[in-house]
């Protein structure tokens, strides 16, 4: 099971994540819920040295991944030396603690 839900427009086929109330392309409102595939490639990334208050760490890598089925999403990149176009596999785990609550999100590892 994946932990995020993406949406495929039933009318024009556009794949969207996160949720939009109307299709970004044709403005229709019916979507098929789809899960991102297990693997994808890294479209871009950054290594953050100055994180927001409450995140006392350095060098967090975030990147945008395009899954094999076309879903695109930002996630934490748990890889030593990321490279553009690198193949990654999807994982899920705690990405941040906000107000004492552990928040979960996408964590990518080397495929």
């Amino acid at each position: 099971m994946s932990n995020i839900t993406a949406y495929k427009c039933k009318s024009c086929g556009l794949i969207m994540y996160p949720y939009h109330d109307r299709c970004l392309n044709c403005k229709k409102r019916e979507f098929e819920e789809i899960e991102p595939s297990n693997n994808g490639k890294l479209l871009t990334f950054t290594i953050i040295e100055q994180l927001p208050w409450g995140m006392d760490e350095r060098g967090r890598i975030l990147g945008v991944v395009e899954f094999d089925n076309g879903v695109k999403a930002l996630g934490l990149i748990d890889v030593e030396q990321p490279k553009l176009e690198m193949k990654l596999k999807r994982g899920w785990g705690t990405v941040r603690e906000i107000g004492g609550v552990k928040v979960k999100g996408l964590i990518f590892e080397k495929a």
Partner: protein, 394 residues
Amino acid sequence: MRPVFVAGAGMIPFERQDENTLGDILAGAGLAALDDVDLGKHEVGAVYLGNMASGLFNHQVSVASALVDRLALIPAAAERIENGPASGGSAVKNGVLAVASGYYDVVLVVGGEKMRDVIGPKATDIVAAMTHPHAEYIYGLTLPAMAGMFTRLYMEKYGVTREHLAMVAIKNQENGITNPYAHIQMKITMEGILEHPQSHINSPIIADPLHLYDCCPVSDGGAAVVLVSEEIAKTLKKPMVQIAGFGQATDTHTLAEREDPTELKAVRLAAVQAFSRAGLKPKDIDVAELHDAFTILEIAESEQAGFFKMGEGAKAVERGDTRIGGKLPINPSGGLKARGHPVGATGVAQIVDLVWQLRGEAGENQVEGAKNGFSLNFGGFGNNVLAFVLRRIS
């Protein structure tokens, strides 16, 4: 539609202002603009206040009502306009619409922010609150990080190098030295921020590939303009500066959903609209104030707004075309890099700087003979952008 003119323009220095409250900053900017014009019997009918996050930075809301009270502009209409880092541009736009429509003859537009009430990492968090709550924010995504992801692709695609980025920073900080309103008034050198083997310690990575000197600072500050109808503008002494056109466009909230993440669609559309409404072309522009919150943005915007072909913006910087005295001076004020970026103030400050340029009042940073100016205020990470074309009517 009636033509709209800038009758008064004013600013207070951008810097860390521990001594002033948000109210002081907004009132100070408002007075600076009001003092710049003799309105005679005319009263300010409406106030538009650009401010992004007084609730979060200063624990204060309804700040526009507080402002008219301080400035004794009661019973003028007043509201705060929030559009992220483009709040200032949006406030100006609303002022323009109000005068153009004929509903008001005199409008005061103020932009201001006091970000330094909180410490740096908290400001980073508040600014990051504009990202998508569950698809971006939770990962610790910051604005510099969005810019970092954008920069990586832009460098790759168009051959922009770290030298190019550093050239933008050096130019803008140099312009800032002679701008008495600029937050950063310090000369930096290629050796000190890039070439010296230890320069990475002076200019550490903020969000790779962006380093400290690729980023704007976090500032307090305010700026304001008085907008009037043509009828009133004609009675005033200073050169007439018209807001000849504005444009505004939006784009997807998340960076991930952009079809081509190196394209700043909203910048392009906003610029096209502003030029067509003004009846001018990019080549007619003598001076531009662009939203260089990150050095890459000055280059990317200069291309996507139509001043240079894609991939040529960096070369223009290299040739010195964008310096004061060059073919198209960009950010003679120092831009966000040096003037600073009190988020809600920026869009208004850009208009103030252009007005000074077009009136010939820009002092040491004057672009000789400037007649037409362009500004671009970039909200979110390019998901809500405003562009303005200003023209001096001789």
